[in-house]
């Protein structure tokens, strides 16, 4: 296949026309679907796809940014460890995420040693080079957790341990679907996470909730085709899993990686920032790996951080509602004003996969419905950095 076909405006128009017909046939307004992937939101926003969708189709970004859903007490654990004098290594995005009393960047400014690593393997290598204790603050979904698992299974150095804030996506889909007032009628699942778990992991969810799930790639036409498939399934009342990203995803996924993941981690319940307690949504080290678990190795005194109340700005942040799909960045009084990428108030403005940062960069719903907007995919989205976005996506 010619890759340019993925961005062919004629094919895109055919898909959006078919989407329009399908959504009309459903006959409800809005029809709300949710994706759970920061890269999907990047693609939707950078190509201005929302402006090409039927007005009645509401595509919501759910809790798909691993940085954003890391709970504040988890950030606090990392900050407290660093302030206790333990060397903390983590992914770059995590450093600026505010905890209840500052971020890891603030800890570093206060004299703590915080290393930014690209890979957990680099953090283990760092521990091999130094004598002091090195804690890898591990965040991210299953795609990233498998890397942490592989390093822990590969004879890590004795001064290395892991503070796991890893999360597991499928359980949060259940919670979002069960939330009172949930509007979600279908899910787009993230292609690369499903590379690990396989599309089959969503089958029990579909059976329980009778909500269709479509695994989608990251190109505009991948996403449009997946949305069409999803709305067709909604129209037909068909609850099933459909894999629209077979280039990367199989039904069974990567069994080698899954085996390593579950050898090291066990799912437990825990809070996702701003959303809810998610049963089985957090990945913690199994007891066999207690000696590599920073929570067991150190006494982490997060209480010492909590004498400082969060700032009034943090209390106004609505990141949680945005990630639960019940608010849009434009609904937040801070968005684009007090909260900007240079000085983020909430986590969604920090990460390149956060809804607020993405909308701030590209505009959320660029209004491309002007008469000359026939080839929307060739249009430039609303001017970047704009704060002038519509509040809702419907």
């Amino acid at each position: 296949m010619n890759p340019l076909e993925f961005r062919d405006p004629v094919r895109a128009r055919q898909l959006t026309d078919a989407l329009e017909r399908t959504v009309n046939a459903i006959g409800r307004n809005p029809v709300s679907v949710m994706h759970v992937c920061g890269s999907h939101e990047q693609a939707i926003a950078r190509f201005g796809l929302r402006a090409t969708l039927p007005r009645a189709l509401n595509v919501i970004m759910g809790p798909g940014c691993p940085v954003c859903i890391t709970d504040m007490p988890e950030i606090d654990e990392g900050v407290a460890l660093a302030l206790q004098g333990v060397r903390v290594a983590t992914y770059g995005d995590m450093v600026r995420v505010p905890g209840s009393a500052g971020s890891l960047a603030d800890a570093r400014a206060a004299g703590a040693t915080v290393d930014i690593v690209y890979s957990v393997a680099q953090a283990a290598d760092l521990a091999r080079e130094v004598k002091e204790e090195v804690v890898f603050f591990g965040t991210g979904f299953e795609t990233t957790a498998v890397a942490t698992a592989a390093v822990l299974l590969d004879d890590p150095p004795p001064n290395f341990s892991v503070l796991s804030a890893h999360k597991f996506i499928p359980p949060v889909m259940e919670i979002v679907s069960e939330m009172p007032g949930s509007r979600v009628e279908g899910f787009l699942a993230a292609g690369h996470a499903a590379t690990i778990t396989g599309s089959g992991i969503f089958e029990p969810f579909v059976e329980r909730h009778h909500i269709p799930v479509v695994v989608a790639g990251f190109e505009p036409l991948d996403i449009l085709a997946a949305l069409l498939r999803l709305t067709e399934m909604i129209r037909d009342g068909q609850a099933a899993v459909s894999n629209m990203f077979p280039r990367c995803v199989t039904r069974d996924g990567n069994r080698v990686a899954q085996e390593q993941l579950w050898k090291v981690f066990r799912p437990i319940g825990g809070r996702w920032r701003g959303i809810a307690h998610i049963p089985n949504g957090n990945l913690r080290l199994r007891d066999e790996f207690a000696h590599l678990d920073a929570r067991k190795r150190f006494t982490i005194d997060v209480g010492a951080l909590w004498h400082r109340a969060p700032s009034s700005l943090v209390r106004q942040c609505i990141c949680g509602n945005i990630m639960a799909g019940i608010a849009s960045p434009g609904d937040c009084p801070l968005f684009g004003r007090e909260c900007v990428p240079e000085s983020p108030v909430g986590a969604c403005m920090v990460s390149s996969e956060g809804t607020c940062k993405i909308w701030h960069q590209y505009g959320g719903v660029p209004d491309l419905r002007a008469p000359s907007s026939n080839d929307c995919l060739r249009c430039v989205p609303a001017s970047p950095g704009t704060t002038d976005v519509k509040g809702g996506v419907a």
Binding site: F6, S39, R46, Y118, S119, T144, A147, A150, D154, P384
Partner: protein, 95 residues
């Protein structure tokens, strides 16, 4: 953090491979891959780990998609978040 990047395997030892990402060569772990990896294969890389060997018939499509993404983002104007994430994956740990 979630978007993997494809690269071509240059050499392989037991647990790792040197992979060429558009001229940036980097050693990545291959122990999470569910298929044996040979020089000349393409793998999808995520945070220093190959998570999938890209089937031969999909290599061309996959690579060209990324090339187009990188080409369209010229570095002029505001940061393109998706291309920036891909670039960060390519540049990180460059040897």
């Amino acid at each position: 953090m979630c978007l993997g990047v494809p690269g071509r395997v240059v050499e392989v030892d037991e647990m790792t491979a040197v992979v060429d990402f558009w001229g940036a060569k980097r050693r990545v772990r291959i122990d999470l891959c569910d298929e044996p990896v040979q020089p000349g294969d393409y793998v999808l890389n995520h945070v220093g780990f190959a998570i999938r060997r890209i089937p031969a018939e999909d290599v061309q499509t996959t690579i060209e998609l990324y090339e187009q993404l990188l080409r369209e983002s010229t570095g002029q104007g505001p940061e393109d978040l998706m291309a920036a994430d891909v670039r960060a994956e390519i540049e990180a740990g460059r040897s």
